[in-house]
């Protein structure tokens, strides 16, 4: 190409570019400085039909608090990850996890999510297994650096059970076929002086929630308290509250046993 021709080509291209960019810059600045609510809302409802994983796969949806999240597990699996590994090992099927667990969640938070967040409700409709851990923060964690006080816990318990009933009811109404696995509470405070009182709280919570679950044919209460009775510290992480890697593995294994 002669130098004249390449100059012309270049000049036309860059002048056109300059013009387009200058217009873009002007539009960009005016749009940022004075946002005008124009333009129609064309939306994307998401791929409902392809949202369901392939056949021959198990979809696990995990709901709840930091225990569902797997806080304290050095391997980063949590009981959900362990459950998933066991399941795909045993059945030879792919298992997928959608983890909706949020650290510090209480029954009220989870209930609000289930009532309001449509995308969570949708994933629940497509689930084969729903795992649930909730209640620990309602009873033993007020958000601050509070001493464990079994008396206060006893007072909070009835309200939490009421919300728990609602939670299970919503899950069942969204997906009556999915198995619901609830992770029962364990007593992480067995080494404190008021261990007897905290055991009573845990025992009462477990028995009342277990009674709720019996009303639904697919809902199963998975006890965990016994796993931490002997040498419990061995299975707790350094925060003395969440399980550690071994603790989560035992819970995950037990859940896999239950539905095998």
């Amino acid at each position: 190409m002669s130098s004249q021709a390449s100059w012309r080509l270049f000049a036309v291209f860059s002048l056109a570019s300059t013009l387009a960019l200058a217009v873009g810059l002007y539009l960009g600045i005016t749009d940022i400085l004075s946002p005008s609510a124009t333009g129609e809302w064309k939306t994307d409802k998401g791929t409902e039909e392809t949202g369901k994983p392939k056949v021959n796969a198990v979809q696990i949806v995990a709901l709840g608090d930091s225990l569902t999240r797997g806080t304290g597990d050095g391997a980063g699996l949590g009981y959900v990850g362990n459950l998933r590994a066991r399941l795909s090992e045993a059945t030879g099927q792919q298992a997928y996890v959608l983890n909706h667990g949020v650290n510090g969640y209480k029954t009220a938070d989870l209930l609000r999510d289930l009532q309001q967040k449509e995308d969570i409700r949708r994933t629940l409709r497509q689930a084969d297994i729903v795992t649930l851990s909730i209640g620990g923060n309602d009873l033993f964690n007020a958000g601050g650096a509070e001493e464990v006080n079994p008396e206060i816990s006893q007072k909070r318990l009835p309200g939490a059970v009421e919300r728990y009933k609602e939670i299970v009811k919503i899950i069942d109404s969204l997906n009556p076929k999915a198995k619901i696995l609830y992770m029962g509470l364990y007593n992480a405070f067995a080494d404190l002086s008021n261990a007897q009182e905290s055991y009573k709280v845990v025992e009462r919570w477990n028995s009342e929630t277990s009674a709720v679950l019996y009303r639904y044919p697919h809902a199963i209460f998975v006890p965990t308290d016994d796993l931490f009775r002997v040498d419990g510290k061995k299975y707790l992480s350094s925060d003395h509250f969440h399980p550690n890697q071994a603790g989560y593995r035992r819970i995950g294994e037990r859940m896999a046993e239950v539905i095998r």
Binding site: S14, L21, P35, K45
Partner: protein, 329 residues
């Protein structure tokens, strides 16, 4: 006396003959496929983990992950603020059924620019601009240039105009190459896909009052226009360096280290507010369009535009004064 048109043509041809533009294109042709592949792997990996292609599921998972990281005590408060805002925006996308990362070539073109504007594209600009004056010293042609019966300011102006033409060409070429290559993998559709803009950040809350929808093509046009402004500022500063430093390699080194210092500062200096007067931390103009929180407090679109403008004008002043007064031996 040569007309300005002739002078600019002369300068542009010099740059074209030095094959600098081809180096830039070549860099893009090599790197864009790598970025495309990385993006492709990330998409695949995400689908494999979640077992679904439903974008809502992955946005929800992303919100959950961020929410949980918030409870960590090891994360500085400034970052938490950023994370909270990110959560609110993602929730807004979910509530309005708009996929923030619709998988197509156009979205890639958009994301590519917002990632490249503060370092990658300015580096490409520096490749061209760093030897625009100093190259004449290296080649010994400065004497020929200055002994011609043309006023020095006219010579410098013609160089500057040529440089601006190249800046425009590079910004647009980047977009074209990113689109052409990523489209092979992600498809060429998506120009009309809606993008949300107009998020205003007040303290820790996202004000969604001004949020509105733009078709993706218009958003890209604005984004590239803003990046172009940042690139022009880089070009002006680099132009001054090219006048001041006679060695091209040294000039390039100065610019590269200044730009990299900018990315380091944005990562570190959230506590040091006066850092906002550096030009390097103001290059990320696209963030104002996306509505993400500026990393250094006190930054706003008007502030960044003004700062970059002042830096550019000052650089040009220095460049002209030095160039006109300089003696050549």
């Amino acid at each position: 006396m040569l007309s300005m048109y002739g002078l600019v043509m002369n300068e542009a041809l010099k740059i074209l003959q030095r094959k600098r533009l081809w180096v830039v294109v070549l860099i893009l042709l090599v790197l864009v496929p790598i970025f495309t592949y990385a993006q492709f792997r990330a998409t695949l990996d995400n689908q494999k983990q979640l077992g679904t292609t439903d974008w809502k599921v992955s946005v929800r998972q992303s919100i959950n992950d961020t929410t949980n990281r918030l409870s960590s005590t090891r994360i500085p408060e400034d970052w938490k603020k950023l994370m909270r805002i990110r959560i609110q925006q993602q929730q807004y996308y979910l509530d309005h059924d708009i996929n923030p990362t619709s998988p197509n070539g156009v979205t890639f073109t958009r994301d590519f620019m917002s990632n490249a504007v503060s370092l990658f594209i300015p580096l490409l600009i520096v490749i061209i601009s760093s030897d625009i004056v100093s190259g004449e010293h290296t080649g010994g042609t400065i004497k020929l240039l200055l002994t011609r019966p043309v006023k020095r300011w006219r010579i410098l102006t013609s160089k500057l105009i040529a440089l601006f033409l190249f800046v425009s060409a590079i910004v647009v070429l980047t977009g074209i190459i990113a689109y052409a290559i990523s489209g092979v993998v992600f498809g060429y559709t998506g120009w009309a896909y809606p993008v949300l803009t107009g998020f205003q950040i007040q303290g820790e809350e996202v004000n969604t009052e001004g949020v509105h929808v733009l078709p993706q093509w218009l958003y890209i046009m604005m984004e590239y226009g803003l990046s172009w402004y940042a690139c022009l500022a880089v070009a002006c500063i680099s132009f001054m360096v090219s006048v001041l430093v006679r060695s091209t390699a040294a000039g390039m080194g100065v610019m590269v280290s200044a730009l990299i210092a900018g990315t380091i500062l944005t990562n570190m200096a959230s506590a040091w507010e006066s850092a906002k007067y550096f030009f390097m931390v103001n290059l990320q103009l696209t963030d104002y369009l996306a509505g993400t929180l500026p990393t250094i407090p006190g930054l706003s679109l008007t502030f960044s535009l003004t700062t970059l403008g002042i830096w550019s004008v000052a650089s040009l002043l220095v460049a002209y004064i030095v160039f006109i007064r300089r003696d050549v031996y």
